[in-house]
Subunit: 454 residues, 2 copies
Amino acid sequence: MSDVMIMLNKNELPRAWYNIHADLTQPLPPPLHPGTGKPATPEDFAAIFPAPLIEQEVSRQQWIPIPEPVLDIYTMWRPTPLIRARRLEQFLQTPAKIYYKDESVSPAGSHKVNTAVAQAYYNKISGTKRLATETGAGQWGSALSFATQLFGLECVVYMVKVSYEQKPYRRSLMQIWNATIHASPSPQTEVGRKFLEADPQCPGSLGIAISEAIADTVSHAHTKYALGSVLNHVMLHQTVIGLETREQLQRAGDSPDVFVGCVGGGSNFAGLAFPFIFDRNRKKSARFIAVEPSACPTLTKGPYCYDFGDTAQMTPLLKMFTLGHGFVPPGIHAGGLRYHGMAPLVSALYADKLIEAVSYPQTAVFEAAVTFARTEGRIPAPETAHAVRAAIDEAVQCRNRKEAKTIVFNFSGHGFFDLVSYDKYLAGKLDDFSYSEEKINEALRSLPKVNEPA
Amino acid sequence: MSDVMIMLNKNELPRAWYNIHADLTQPLPPPLHPGTGKPATPEDFAAIFPAPLIEQEVSRQQWIPIPEPVLDIYTMWRPTPLIRARRLEQFLQTPAKIYYKDESVSPAGSHKVNTAVAQAYYNKISGTKRLATETGAGQWGSALSFATQLFGLECVVYMVKVSYEQKPYRRSLMQIWNATIHASPSPQTEVGRKFLEADPQCPGSLGIAISEAIADTVSHAHTKYALGSVLNHVMLHQTVIGLETREQLQRAGDSPDVFVGCVGGGSNFAGLAFPFIFDRNRKKSARFIAVEPSACPTLTKGPYCYDFGDTAQMTPLLKMFTLGHGFVPPGIHAGGLRYHGMAPLVSALYADKLIEAVSYPQTAVFEAAVTFARTEGRIPAPETAHAVRAAIDEAVQCRNRKEAKTIVFNFSGHGFFDLVSYDKYLAGKLDDFSYSEEKINEALRSLPKVNEPA
């Protein structure tokens, strides 16, 4: 009987998150105030985030203890399994070893819950009664609904209208977990009403939904805002993934050559990779590959500069790889990867060439997903399937070069709510959206002119 | 940090299935040939089942080794977690301990895979090239598709037409795993064509789909039939659930007072309960509760007698609790519990009063499911929610009586493909189908007249 699942005991759950900001040779370029263009102060964030999260956002402390009530909830599904994909290896006839960290076992079905629980907790102890957020297809919204339900917070989710109507299943999850969901643009906020007046049929976008969630936050008492990716504190909370993986690989006696994760805002990739990047015990030659859709090629085609996090220019400016806050990616099924920017921490590592990036069109991604499902049984989310594609390609290269490398990728979420996209792929009806240089150049012209702080 | 998940290592996976037939004081009443009414011989089954499964069907050997290739696949998700539902306990303010065995973590999302893998394996080594089966909502069809895909067998699934059209997601799963799916009644078989001729809009039924799968089997070379519940060998394969649970409870230092599982054909209940029923170490006072829908009250309202397994009277006659093979249960959302009969092994134990049965209407069941989802995070399948209801009621009774009992139930599958039914429940649009004595009495009149063998 072969070694397939590598499990940890609950007492091996990490007790602290790893903050990679501590190990960067220089601190991140600071966020800038959207009005003044000057470095934003912690006070600037106080209207939308509770103090402990603002503190984590700017902290350069290497280890930050995980509070007991958060650990207590983590134990409902953590430590998650690390699984050796032996059947996939056999199918590919590769000498490589392929492992995947299965974050899909969480109640909401993805890694997003790791930060949702932490954010709900810090808001709870800071006196927040109500959290506002946005969601596209609903991965983040459902994770936050689950977390707020456990802490007895209200949760209001602005869900991009086209997803609200066409993807009802994660909406159902949110309802089961007691969240209030508004199709965005909504009549709830001034910005929403403005978009509805201009076009009552407006399908919405993540940019509008973010603006509505922030507008809701600042206009309601005891309400804060929660974001599911991009920010430093989100990356921090996700490091439980990599910390567990490190322990599990040690138990398996393996040291990886290649780490792989998909990137939208960057948090699941960061969660897996960060604890290894500055680790003295990792192989010197180890590579870290961020995988993005070629329809939204932030790292592979964008510049590294200051930009807004949302379309309506309400958020602070962050220095990051970006396609411009005006960029609207085509409607690929991996909705979670349709974001114009990239986490500042991931961006800084990419600028320093500590990590690599690669992009794939969606039919190649679904082909890999189906290969995985037919060998390993599990159905990846379309986002996760990007990591599967890159892991398979690395393993095939190992076969061609006769190299017995060890590859680890993050299985960030399951695809049970995305089966319509699999149906389309299997019926040969899936489009590849070609990367449009023109469209990106147009969006890049929307980049704000910024005097970078020295 | 409280003890939540109790995990076993892969080397603690059971190496043999437990055959409760060995411990019954007398052998089960034999199946009868549908044509002659005489006890069916192993040869009678040879047209539809491979020899090793027929052997298991009649075996009275107490332990049957699990073949290495089956164990090897089990390790892809087994041992499954046993989880202490502390948050549910707190919510109910009960002194009871509640544990659930999480079978939803399998690739196909339910316990069905435990027998699907075993059946695919024994067919493979017996020279079968192709397996035919029926499915209602698709739990069993998707489990068998997964298993046949891993063993390189063809799989053809006759799926009840109304489900084929209204519940496309488990159909998508089956397609991903390479199965061929026919909406039943189909033009593929004579019996299907007959139904289509009579009514081209015929929505189908499980009874018709079984008949089509058997008709397909006997008319194709190298093809056998696979059944997902009811039969002895299916109960046998499911005992990995209870065997693991026994080990996990021992580790937790607990000995249960109450075991709970939902029953349609009986296999997930059997899987959990059978290893404990004749166990000398279990509490003498322990109770075993089978939970069924009040819309299909096989154990609580049916007689114990010989009946056919399908509507078209093609299967052998089995002695079981039954509502009559002509009984068509109302369209409750727990499709997997809409079966007129009950596994002969479960029936014999119930007749001997070694187990109990209870029934619930579906709104009470969904209320329990939502309570569970809001405390424990996991979304139960509508079938599983019946077990949740009974476990909660037992725990509430413990509160009222101030008894610190230990309750264990089987979380047989997740509800990610059943969220439409949750939406209906939350919108107050779910019907309770009242139990119709008249309808059952009518169906009971269809029971065959049988001279029971001495």
